[in-house]
Symmetry: C2
Subunit: 192 residues, 2 copies
């Protein structure tokens, strides 16, 4: 029984609250940085979609008695909904950026990650809803529907239709980014 | 220095791989059961929506020259998309049930939970897309749109419109369930 004081301190019992294993910090930080990058891409996507849709309009060069001469996004409720949802999600994502940066610095923040993941899921639903409603309307504008007696309007408003169709890309892209963000958040939480 | 052998075993150093804290098993199992219940509710919602939309049709009692006499879900592409997406999500959720039960029995399954959470997020996007596209079309059927020269068709097909509107409820309900499932999964992963 020739224990030295140095050995005694080494074998001190681990406290109940403390965890013995160190978290794989480097991997964890990498995932947090990826989360931030994905968020920035999603911000760009929703912002571009919002602006592209909100600023589009087309005035036809001719005038007939029973047809609209000018098309704007707020002529169709689905497009208005698209602009609103994309703006909300864009705003949310911008506000989530500081928290994302905080997660890079302070890796052990568990609760805030779960809260963020839940909001991310809700925002995924919101941005998909907006994009999908607009897509359904764009489809009807392109093809029309004989059963419902709805004519296609894209022959007249070709530029308007092109621009609104294009603005969907950013929104659907952001939805995919949000799925990836949710997935990486889950991995980050599992590593804690 | 009068250490007994009993004290020596008590102060043995904790191995690097082993974790000192025991997982809160009871809470964890409760969350897994909640996950299963939410999944069953979501299955019921998507199944009901799918069936309600797919079986709805209305034949008008009168015949005119330039109007459709019979309305079915596949007259409108958005409704067909709605039935397809709800069927896919319903099928996925049914297949996820055994895995959910497995998680109740074997709480420590971490990787399978992350994979499931990622698929849940993708399915959330899918079911929301279907519901939202159908909602945009139902809205147009109810209100029409003067700017696009689309008449409202719900005056004629009142029962068809009522039924399709009603079938959206189950689908949006399932989307909310999926958000809750994602949130509880994140909590479950954090407890591991």
């Amino acid at each position: 029984m020739s224990e030295t004081p140095a050995e005694q301190t080494k074998t001190e019992p681990v406290q109940a609250g403390e965890v013995a294993r160190p978290p794989p910090l480097r991997l964890h930080r990498g995932i947090s940085v990826l989360d931030l990058v994905l968020r920035i891409v999603a911000v760009a996507g929703t912002l571009a979609s919002s602006i592209a849709m909100a600023t589009t309009n087309q005035t036809l060069p001719f005038i007939t008695q029973n047809f609209q001469f000018r098309a704007e996004y707020n002529d169709l409720p689905a497009f208005t909904f698209f602009v609103i949802t994309n703006s909300i999600v864009c705003g949310y994502l911008v506000f989530s950026l500081p928290l994302s940066i905080f997660h890079i610095i302070k890796s052990a923040a568990k609760k805030s990650r779960i809260v963020l993941l839940t909001f991310d899921a809700a925002m995924l639903a919101l941005v998909t809803a907006g994009a999908s409603a607009a897509a359904a309307t764009v489809y009807l504008a392109h093809k029309g529907n004989v059963n419902a007696n709805w004519p296609a309007v894209c022959q007249q408003f070709d530029l308007f239709c092109e621009r609104t169709s294009g603005s969907l890309i950013g929104s659907f892209g952001s939805a995919i980014m949000l799925i990836l963000i949710i997935s990486t958040s889950a991995v980050a939480i599992s590593l804690l």
